[in-house]
């Protein structure tokens, strides 16, 4: 039965116009994520590109529009006036690996976006570490592809 299902999929794929295998989206890299309740759908959204777009569309959800974070039962750290941003490794490492409640964001952001947003937070919200963060600086933090 398994071989039948596979064949059905292959036949379906052959009979209609689909991109060659190489152009099809690859399964996500890294360990398989579990999901709980979800919408049961996939969205088709234009990913953010510039540092400002990434900040507004991703980081701001937690770190707030003014970069000041917030405190309730625990604290979302402020990026505004944060001396740890002096080292580019700090924002890169957090975006790539996550920490505590913050997930790794590599499923949403590629190395150029990570470099752009690291540059953005290091040059806004009262931070003035003006040297742009480069993709080359991001690469060493990325997990090796399995």
């Amino acid at each position: 039965m398994k071989s039948l299902m596979v064949s059905a999929a292959v036949v379906t794929a052959m009979a209609v116009v689909v991109p060659p295998a190489s152009a099809r989206p690859a399964p996500p890299a890294g360990p398989a994520q579990e999901r709980g309740d979800s919408a049961g759908n996939s969205t088709l959204l234009k990913p953010p590109e510039t540092g400002e777009q990434v900040y507004r569309q991703v980081c701001q959800a937690c770190h707030m529009a003014d970069g000041k974070g917030g405190t309730g039962a625990a604290t979302i750290p402020a990026l505004a006036g944060n001396p740890r941003l002096a080292s580019p490794a700090y924002p890169i490492m957090l975006v790539v690996r996550g920490r505590g409640a913050m997930p790794s964001l590599t499923d949403l952001l590629g190395p150029p976006q990570i470099a752009a947003v690291a540059t953005y937070v290091r040059t806004h919200f009262g931070n003035s570490y003006t040297a742009p963060v480069t993709v080359e600086e991001v690469k060493p933090f990325l997990p090796a592809r399995k």
Binding site: V18, T43, V58, G100, M102
Partner: protein
Amino acid sequence: MQAGAGKTTRRELLTAIGMMGGTFALYQAMTTMGHAAETQFAGPPNLKGARPGASVIVLGAGLAGMLAAFELRKAGYKVRILEYQARAGGRNWSLYGGDTYTELGGATQKVGFAPGNYLNPGPWRIPHHHRTLLHYCKQFGVALEPFIQFNHNAFVHHADAFGGRPVHFREAAADFEGGVAELLGKAIDQKALDQEIKAEDKEMLLEALRGWGMLDQDMKYARNLRSAEHRGYERPPGGGVNGAPIPSNIFDFHDVLASQVWKNMAFFMNHEMQTTMFQPVGGMGMIGKAFARQVEPLITHNAKVTKIFQDRSGVKVTYKDTSTGAVSDAHADFCVCTIPLGVLNQIDKNLSPKLQAAIQAVPYSNSVKIGLEMRRRFWEEDYSIYGGHSFTSQDISLISYPNNHLFGDGPAVLLGAFASGLGGYRLAGMTPEQRIETALAQGSIFHPDSYRKEFMNGASVAWNRVPWTLGCCARWNEDTRKEHYQTLVAVDDRVVLAGEHASYVGCWMEGALLSSIDAITRLHARALEA
């Protein structure tokens, strides 16, 4: 722990072990009847024989914490609960008209819904096999009603299909199945599968494809009254002169594939998503309220835990009263900690280094829900949509129609977004007003004539900004499960963690309850050992 109770300890321990064995035996009995098991729940834990005077402090008055308190008190423990919020229930929560909610960052929303209307920011549907939750709903008097999970007449919308126009789920799903059946039939006919399938099975499969895919006698999926039985009619059957139905046109197969309707179809096949599903009458928060009625005298509200310290003599929890600022210590022999991991990670504590590492290793998911109150049920009156979901490729991901008070007059609240991933972050980063505006703009794709016209008011919850969780649910993956899960659930001397994060039913209330029962059963055994 109390000295002098040693004489009964062994017997009590054996009782506890026997009880655990009994639970497992019952579970085995349930699973060996030849059916796939639907649940690990084998009834309430029935813990007995706590040492006289033994005490437990429970951190968090969500479902896991309140169930732990309820069952441990029955077992004879002195129990106390510390809760950060002024409300019990945790993520089991409904927002009603008159409620005020302030998110991290300070934005405050005053909910304007009419009486009886609500938004469930967190859990909103209960699978029929979540037996632990259903058991306690019945025991605590929570009335349940059907949650309409699957509606063929709702819409699917994908920006890359059908010119961006929504189509009925029924039409797209029927055409997907019909198209696949026809292609597979062709492959069999062209002997492409002769190596794969026996001759006698081939005939059965062809018959199945014809019947399942609504193919005609030539094994074609085409515009006719057969395909119309699945996808609907251009003119439906009627009475009298024009009673004869007229079939509908089938869609181009490219659009059907591009719509990714198969994802929605596969979603409905998930075990957690299969019908029958339920919701409490009056909002999901009714469950938290019912649990709270059982244990409310044990709860200290507005208590922000700042330190958890255990040693040979017991557990000391330091907490700050968020209304007065007063700092106090609470002492107990043992602790059940249900604080979400992202919050617990920031609390000063002397748990074992391995457990600290496990707590730090699990990130939290994002999710945004938006409730929109509409003047009238246009989806019912104008579209014949009664409950269920319309899916979209936009940020909001879906809109979902209310399952209660069907055919009612007056305002009703529909779910205007259930967003996660990038869409969830984008909506969370907005002000509450911008979220409502985005939800209206995107949801209008389904109901362009009525969506804005009938809108009255709305409310939103972005889980990234919920002050007492900093996220929606623990997000495990296969690596973190392997490295940290057993450490996370193990009793750490006098402390045990419980909650959805300490289960394999992550992000569901059932996971919180199953975790809680397992945690207190092991903690009880540990307490009798001590």
